[in-house]
């Protein structure tokens, strides 16, 4: 399977990445070669292998339901690009 230029544009759009026409060609070639490398795994015999959700063989750690955080809003908002009246501000979004 190779990655087409159309695929690159689609994924770039989903990831909100701006990619020039030259770059589209470059990424399509490079990504195709990466996919080809990964595709070697298709030859492996996996009929009796359970799908793996996580490389570590450890179950999820669960914590007690307790409030442990304190309000650090002022510190966080000092490094935010824009904030006002306790709200983070972003360019207008309308759906």
């Amino acid at each position: 399977m190779s990655v087409t230029e159309k695929d690159v544009r689609y994924v770039a759009n989903l990831a909100r990445l701006s990619v020039s026409d030259d770059e589209v060609k470059f990424y399509a070639d490079n990504l195709s070669r990466i996919v080809a490398l990964v595709e070697q795994m298709n030859d492996a015999q996996t009929d009796n292998v359970e799908p793996l959700s996580h490389p570590q063989d450890a179950p999820l750690r669960l914590r007690e339901d307790r409030v442990t955080e304190v309000d650090q809003r002022d510190d966080f908002q000092k490094v935010a690009p824009a904030a006002s009246d306790g709200l983070y501000l972003v360019p207008k979004v309308i759906e």
Partner: protein, 476 residues
């Protein structure tokens, strides 16, 4: 052509934990913006989610209550999309391996029982809130809600009318409150639903193209939104058009749905297992322990009410529809010496109609169970008649006072002194001599009129049984 409506619901229900699903921030509603948004919630680099045990426990509770399979192993996945109130750029949810699968819930519509399949219920985090009002070129973001635990309950497309959808939604709502896993507060957004609606010619097996109506947060709107959407789709199909698969938003002010985003730019969420969170493994012992902690569920309570209080099924069903109503009933019975039948009549009758008419929730009723029990006692000990009881109830509702106070203040105590009643009867007979004669001549219908006159003369306070008896004696 005759059309059949097909509806499936996705209900988002906030879980009543103290802290968030993956962080130790408080989930309290209505705090200062962003005062409950920690480094994890605002997605600062390098932070890691740690799962809340109680959120898992609550999801298991729900699964057990709807007879579902509880999956000892479930997996958290990333649902990727960009929106400013989702700072990580993905929502942690469950996709291929949810915690709860294949449950069922029975509903009753027009006295017919029907089982609705529950495909799955999965754990996920809520997003923050975008505020558009009061800004010109900007949007304000409040992340207090970001990371609040939710279960999303997905039904099979088993419902065939808006009425069934409402019945199902109400049943789930009552259930999560019974289980105490959610406050179910719809105004605050703790309980909201998306409806998938399609239509097809009656008898057709294949499903029609569906539209998804987003974010409906009241029972009334779910019914209106679905009915409106069904009409819209029928119009399109009968005009020879085609329904487009899309997301629509219900506008309650205009009573219409409008398109939000069309299929062309539909989201491709690129789900994949979250590498920050290994699979969640729940032990059989844990699930067993949750099972033993389940409270009495609506169906079991209804059976018990029928048995213990000798109520008919209709009364018992109405009284167990919500946990609050059931508790109100049992407290009322306690307050009136165990008169369950009369308590049921008052709660399902007078009280229900006052609540309805005034749009008041039972929890906020100005007449509490103790007060209602007190009123029933006064009727049972013949201090007042049942009819005067309704007048007393009205005053209790208005002023929040006790039955005894109302009876005392308004002098409503029933007249049981036979001498006093006899005097009124004599007066009435004297001033209605013609009617009395008609009765003696065999016109029995006049009797009711005469009773009415006596009751009126006594301002409703004469004991009706005694009035009947005395009148009969005098007229014979």
């Amino acid at each position: 052509m005759e059309w059949e409506t097909v509806i499936g619901l996705e209900i988002h229900c906030q879980l009543a934990t103290d802290s968030k699903i993956f962080s130790g921030s408080s989930t309290a509603f209505g705090s200062e913006p962003n005062s409950q948004a920690s480094a994890v919630d605002i997605a600062l680099p390098g932070v890691l989610p740690v799962m809340n045990l109680d959120a898992a426990r609550m999801a298991v509770k729900f699964g057990l209550a709807v007879d579902a399979t509880i999956n000892e192993r479930s997996v958290f996945a990333r649902k990727n999309y960009f929106y400013p109130d989702l700072p990580k750029g993905y929502q942690i949810s469950q996709f291929e391996e949810p915690i709860v699968t294949e449950g069922r819930l029975s509903i009753t519509v027009d006295d017919k029982d029907k089982v609705i399949g529950i495909t799955r219920a999965h754990l996920e985090e809520d997003a923050g809130k975008s505020l558009h009002e009061g800004f010109v070129d900007e949007t304000g973001i409040d992340l207090n809600r970001a990371g609040t635990p939710l279960i999303e309950i997905v039904s099979e497309p088993d419902m065939r009318s808006a009425a069934e959808a409402v019945a199902y939604m109400r049943k789930i709502h009552a259930l999560v409150r019974y289980l105490e896993i959610s406050d179910g507060n719809m105004q605050e957004g703790s309980f909201r639903c998306d409806a998938n609606v399609s239509i097809r010619p009656k008898g057709e097996k294949e499903l029609g193209t569906r539209a998804e109506i987003k974010n409906i947060n009241s029972f009334r709107f779910v019914e209106k939104a679905i009915n409106h959407e069904v009409e819209r789709q029928i119009d399109i199909l009968e005009d020879g058009g085609e329904v487009v698969q899309e997301t629509r938003l219900y506008d309650a002010n205009k009573d219409e749905t409008r398109s939000m985003r069309s299929k062309e730019d539909a989201h491709d969420y690129r789900y994949f297992p979250d590498p920050d969170l290994p699979p969640m493994i729940l032990s059989k012992e844990f699930i067993e322990e949750v099972k033993e902690s389940l409270p009495e569920l609506p169906e079991a309570k209804r059976e018990r009410f029928m048995e213990q209080y000798e109520l008919d099924e209709k009364d018992a069903a109405a009284l167990t529809a919500t946990r609050e109503t059931a508790a109100y009933f049992e407290k009322t019975v306690e307050a009136c010496n165990g008169d369950a039948k009369t308590s049921a009549n008052w709660i399902n009758g007078e009280l229900a109609s006052y609540l309805n008419r005034n749009n008041v929730e039972l929890e906020d009723s100005p007449v509490n169970p103790k007060a209602l029990g007190g009123l029933i006692e006064r009727i049972n000990d013949k201090t007042i008649s049942n009819k005067i009881g309704k007048t007393v109830f009205e005053s209790m509702w208005k002023n929040g006072s006790s039955a005894d106070d109302v009876i005392e203040q308004q002098g409503l105590k029933q007249i049981t002194d036979s001498g006093a009643i006899e005097k009124i009867v004599d007066d009435v007979l004297a001033s209605n001599a013609d009617q009395a004669q008609q009765y003696r001549d065999g016109n029995e219908k006049v009797f009711g009129f005469l009773v009415g006159q006596v009751m009126q003369a006594s301002k409703g306070k004469a004991n009706p049984a005694q009035v009947n008896e005395l009148l009969k004696a005098k007229l014979s």
